[in-house]
Amino acid sequence: MAVDAAHADGGIPELPNVITLLSHSLHDHPVVAWLHHWEHVLFALIVIAGLCAGAWRFARKPSLIPRDGQNLLELFVEGLDRLLRSLMGSSGRRHLPFIGTLFLYIWCMNLTSLLPGMKPPTSSLNTTVGLALVVFCYVQVVRVKDLGWRQYLDHLAGSPRFDDVKQASMAMKPLLLVIKLFVMAVLLVLELIGELVKPISLSLRLGFNIFAEDVLLAVLVGLGIAAGAALHLPIGLPLQLFAAPLVLIFSTVQALVFALLTTVYISLIAPHDAHPPHEAHA
């Protein structure tokens, strides 16, 4: 097992999970090879199944006085609701399902790095870029629905107004018009690239953080096994428990940052609607 910990591609140490164990014992089976290829999707599906099971068990028949699991779920939902209301005003409540799901899903995926035999799906860029694309599509659809196509493109191009062109002298009109159109085009391209890059930066931040945590755990496990072998113990020392608080904190923080930055991107528009960005706490 210590050999397996140092076995991943490029020499980057990685903890063995259930699928790598399978693929080590059954080398040439095509199903196991396919599972190994898609292991991050498999673990994401396991997390989804766990979350659905929890929701089914505790939220099916909500009682007026919550107990047990329903209490816990209400804690999350109300906390996120308060956070969103403080960031986006009470009109932001319609985004609560999306952002709440994002937060819970990413948080549970990050936390699976602590369970033995599982690999966090967010440690590979495939999962995180997929999430970022979902965020990108959601933000664009929300903006177009709220503002309409024309006003959105107008906002992207920097809200150009042609009054100074209308009031200029006949000689200056074409020149001013050309300059204005050029600036509009450049702004449009830059803003579109910016809209694309922001979710990508979200995904890179999340993916690299969780990947670094995973490698940290793997390196500590390797150290623990080496220490156990040096002291002639039958099993290695559990040195990776020293990193467990760090992993817990950073998993939560990264999930929170992803969800909050999504909130900020959604609420970046609407300077024309003049709704106050901060309302008093309820």
Partner: protein
């Protein structure tokens, strides 16, 4: 690849990581000290300031993590 690329990598990768760590420490120190001053001025806004500080720290850490990942990738190429 030049002949002694492994020696080059072994020299520069930890150096890059050290520079990233120093820069991140400067940035995070400024952010956290500003947050502490703000909390000391207005203790009742402590929760909001703490949340904002955590988000700011995560954004600054992300840049250091980028360097860490490149260090991991390159470190696999050292060692014959």
């Amino acid at each position: 690849m030049p002949q002694d690329y492994q020696a080059m990598l072994a020299l520069t990768v930890p150096l890059a990581l050290g520079i990233a760590a120093v820069a991140s420490a400067f940035g995070l120190g400024r952010a956290v000290s500003a947050a502490m001053e703000a909390i000391s001025r207005q203790p009742e806004a402590g929760g909001q300031i703490q949340t904002a500080m955590i988000i700011g720290c995560a954004l600054i850490e992300a840049l250091t993590i980028y360097v860490l990942v490149i260090a991991f990738v390159l470190q696999g190429k050292i060692g014959g």
